[in-house]
Point group: C2
Chain length 183, copies 2
Amino acid sequence: MKELIEKTIATEQVFNGRMIDLQIDTVSLPNGATATREIIRHPGAVAILAITADKKMIFVEQYRKPIDRVIFEIPAGKIDAGEIEHLLTAQRELEEETAYRAANWQLLTALYTAPGFADEIIHIYEARGLARQEAPLAMDVDEFLNVHTLTLTEAKALIGEGKIVDAKTVYAIQHFELNYNNY
Amino acid sequence: MKELIEKTIATEQVFNGRMIDLQIDTVSLPNGATATREIIRHPGAVAILAITADKKMIFVEQYRKPIDRVIFEIPAGKIDAGEIEHLLTAQRELEEETAYRAANWQLLTALYTAPGFADEIIHIYEARGLARQEAPLAMDVDEFLNVHTLTLTEAKALIGEGKIVDAKTVYAIQHFELNYNNY
């Protein structure tokens, strides 16, 4: 087996933002040569596969500036400063974005979204036993979205139509399909 | 349905790198307020679900500096400047990273990896009819990896062990499982 690990020689902080930071690391490669790595630091995120009693998934429809498109995604959001427990972040995001609380929570997985250039990890939960809140937590002031409840067939159709196009949401739909008979 | 789209008021280029660029957009929100969006521009990428004649998947084991870990992923790489046809990029990456060429190619999907802060889209292909090359294309000079061929069961075990942790690879394994009887 080849040696694979790169050792950090220097780190240059390029940008410290509201959501992401950017640094350039100079590394020593396994063969002794040097190279640079452009790295985005992200606080991490949560996403929720929320399943209703009648076996539908909850989606949020929102505009994403980086891709200049309105897309359907599972509810998700970044981990705020001071939020240590990812489950609490997931519960906050689900209620803020959809007005639902869930009685039953289970961590499904944690996935790196783009390990070639970013350290973002997204903790994906399954939420069941949903109850809509009359007075839910308020959304972030710069967040606008519509909530949709869809069957597996409807969700897969939206993949085909190109309205569901992000990795975490397709993961959740595949997970739902693979475990469909258990719900 | 609520209005969702944000209009760009100003764009500030913060960084132009070898792999990614960073810009900050000031946007007008649907309610007329303004906000800023930190956006990573990426040239896009390809990834390959390569399936052998004996129904195994091909993985590459490599170090990822942003997460400081050695992980198993499906073969993948960014689209180089001037590469117009994504299929050719996928064919190049598969041969460079694994020494395999494939007779049969099919585009499975294209997924945004992190639409909250990046425009990266990854075009995921299925490759079958594999033939190992005696004199394959050379890898990038700063790339070091080991190639592994695993059954579905073995791949799922690596998810459980935390050695497969990235969204595109878990997508590919789920796709393989959902369509297993067709291979």
